[in-house]
């Protein structure tokens, strides 16, 4: 059924299942495709290909694994006039994303104070299950300002500087956000969770640049060998989860009216131009802004921890990317520019140089693409390419991708063993939950280096630098 077209591309033909209006395309090497074939990823990529108004192909990145409705690692673009928007195509954790901060010190300078730094970060960044933010519960009026202004709200409140905003996707504020499209329930869930890391796969990691592959791009991004950097992976918390829950319900009810039939209930969708579709996009943007503000606040506390422990808190924002988002963009389809809504469900925007969306500092090299690895392995910075514009609506992978269930991960190892093993590798861990820690053990994931090799060799992003962790804060 699957048609291999080259070393890194596998086509799912329209004959794979009834109702596919476009082909599926999976980026993978032989080993990764074998892993992908084990779960329902292929069927989910094919299911997405049945949605109305899709253009190009239904895509899956090499880190793809089974999700809900959409595969995680999926990309799908719908025509802005005739296509649909799916809340499940963005996912529950709206604007789950990654931010990278660059310090001005080398690993050798940090080492003697590493444990003290981790202790400070673990104290200052609220993390773990059910953890509330240190700023207390926000009033709904204040929360509305967060939803409207995202990271800009955080900077106005003293969390970071205006210069930070220039290095965030969309400057950390999606312009079409409308807090009135967000339910009181969602606000209720989010009002005391702003400025919290969360649990699950979310983390803050102290890493160092172990290898530079592209000197020109690394220089533009402010990265150099042995440099200490910090990666923060977090999302929109309960607020975003509730927005998705609410709009799945709204979309399911509205579908009949628009005569839309779907093959999996989790794929509920409505026309982009419908009132329900527009309201979802306004609410999604608001939730995305909550996540941008969230990462901005954690950036501030990370800087404070560096300042207190090392006396050097000048960490620069390299970039901040969304992993779960839908964006209106213009892409060439069949040789003509076309306005589309790109769903990225566990995928990263990967725009090349000379795109107007890029910060001026990166205009001549391209957008940084931040790829977190699993705990205790390595992470990457890539750069977007023209090829991604041609093939993947300017998108690339987002991480390692799970290979083992959380339950199976817990079976083989205790938290104490895992902490010891990581320590032997030079990685110090602070975790709020022992069971959460073992669920995220490195071999529960695919090999991030393989995922990145596929993306690099397929040309949909290029390697710039590899980072190795020395300290992990887990929720």
């Amino acid at each position: 059924m699957l048609k291999k077209i080259d070393e890194h591309r596998y086509i799912i033909p329209k004959s794979f299942r009834e109702g596919m209006t476009v082909e599926g395309l999976i980026y993978a090497n032989e080993e990764l495709i074998r892993q992908i074939e084990k779960d329902q990823t292929m069927m989910q990529v094919a299911n997405v290909a049945t949605l109305p108004g899709l253009v190009g192909r239904s895509l899956a990145m090499p880190d793809a694994h089974q999700g809900y409705g959409f595969a995680i690692g999926g990309v799908a673009a719908a025509d802005l006039e005739t296509g649909v928007v799916s809340a499940g195509g963005v996912g529950f954790d709206i604007n789950c994303g990654v931010r990278l901060l660059a310090s001005d010190m080398s690993l050798d300078e940090l080492k003697p104070r590493l444990d003290a730094l981790l202790n400070q970060m673990f104290r200052d960044i609220p993390c773990g299950t059910g953890k509330k933010g240190v700023i207390g519960a926000l009033s709904f009026d204040e929360l509305d300002r967060v939803l409207k202004n995202g990271a800009h709200w955080a900077v106005e409140k003293g969390y970071g500087t205006p210069a930070d905003l220039e290095h965030l996707e969309e400057t950390g504020r999606l312009p079409n956000a409308d807090p009135s499209a967000v339910s009181d329930r969602a606000k209720q869930r989010g009002k005391d969770q702003l400025g919290t890391l969360g649990s699950g796969n979310h983390f803050a990691e102290v890493q160092y640049v172990a290898e530079v592959f592209d000197e020109e791009a690394a220089k533009a991004f402010g990265l150099w060998p042995q440099q200490v950097v910090v990666m923060i992976h977090s999302g929109s918390r309960g607020l975003g989860h509730q927005v998705c829950t609410d709009y799945l319900e709204i979309m399911q009810s509205a579908m009949k009216k628009y005569n839309i039939r779907i093959v999996d209930r989790q794929l509920a969708c409505v026309p982009i131009k419908s009132p329900e579709g527009q309201n979802y996009l306004k609410a999604m943007a608001a939730a995305a802004n909550f996540a941008f503000a969230n990462r901005q606040m954690m950036t501030h506390w990370t800087r404070e921890a560096f300042q207190r422990v090392l006396g050097r808190g000048d960490l620069k924002v390299v970039y901040d990317v969304c992993h779960n988002i839908a964006k209106e963009e213009v892409h060439m389809v069949d040789g003509k520019p076309r306005k589309v809504l790109v769903h990225r469900k566990g995928a990263t925007r990967a725009f090349p140089k000379h795109r107007p969306e890029l910060p001026k500092d990166y205009y001549e090299v391209g957008q940084p693409v931040l790829i977190p690895g699993s705990m205790g392995t390595c992470s990457y910075v890539l750069v977007g390419t023209e090829r991604a514009m041609e093939e993947t609506f300017g998108s690339s992978c987002h991480g390692a991708g799970r290979a083992m269930s959380r339950h199976a991960a817990k079976k083989n190892i205790t938290a104490e063993q895992l902490i010891k093993e990581l320590r032997e590798k030079g990685i110090h861990v602070r975790g709020a939950s022992k069971s959460g820690l073992t669920e995220e053990k490195p071999d529960a994931y695919k090999d991030v280096s393989q995922v990145v090799e596929v993306v690099h060799n397929a040309g949909i992003a290029k390697k710039v630098a590899k980072m190795i962790p020395v300290g992990v804060i887990k929720g």
Partner: protein, 139 residues
């Protein structure tokens, strides 16, 4: 059919399969299954009562709404449910009383943040010898 619940495997997340002699019992056990992933249910005292009244478009939708309600009480109102009692249930309506208390970090150890209830492989099966429901959560 033995009443209760068990945890299911999913590459990224986690689900439960709950059973009961009746639909009511299976729905109650599904709620207890969800709660057991959030905290140790035995540590929750039934100090306060909340009344839940829901309408669904069909039985699957009703199950998602029921569990989403329990999740919201915890994540939105900081209220941990320890006991559930469904008073009446039909494929499109549910009325229940739940009992519990506000989260107390000193007594309640929190296990997992559940993001949402999904429709992924959702199943509500009514048979002669009982009822089975299956549901996956995004965590």
């Amino acid at each position: 059919m033995k009443a209760g619940f068990r945890i299911l495997e999913h590459p990224a997340d986690v689900g439960i399969e709950a059973t009961g002699a009746t639909l009511k019992e299976a729905f109650e056990n599904a709620a207890l299954g969800l709660l057991s992933m959030i905290t140790d249910v035995d540590s929750v005292d039934a100090r306060e009562e909340r009344f839940i009244q829901l309408k669904g478009t069909d039985i699957q939708n009703l199950l998602v709404k029921w569990l989403s309600e329990i999740l919201f009480l915890y994540d939105g109102e900081n209220f941990l449910v320890g006991e559930v009692e469904i008073e009446s249930i039909s494929p499109t309506r549910l009325e229940a009383i739940v009992r519990g208390e506000s989260v107390d970090e000193a007594r309640h150890s929190m296990k997992t943040d559940i993001k949402a209830v999904t429709y992924h492989q959702l199943k509500v099966q009514e048979k002669k010898d009982g009822c089975l429901v299956r549901v996956f959560f995004d965590i």
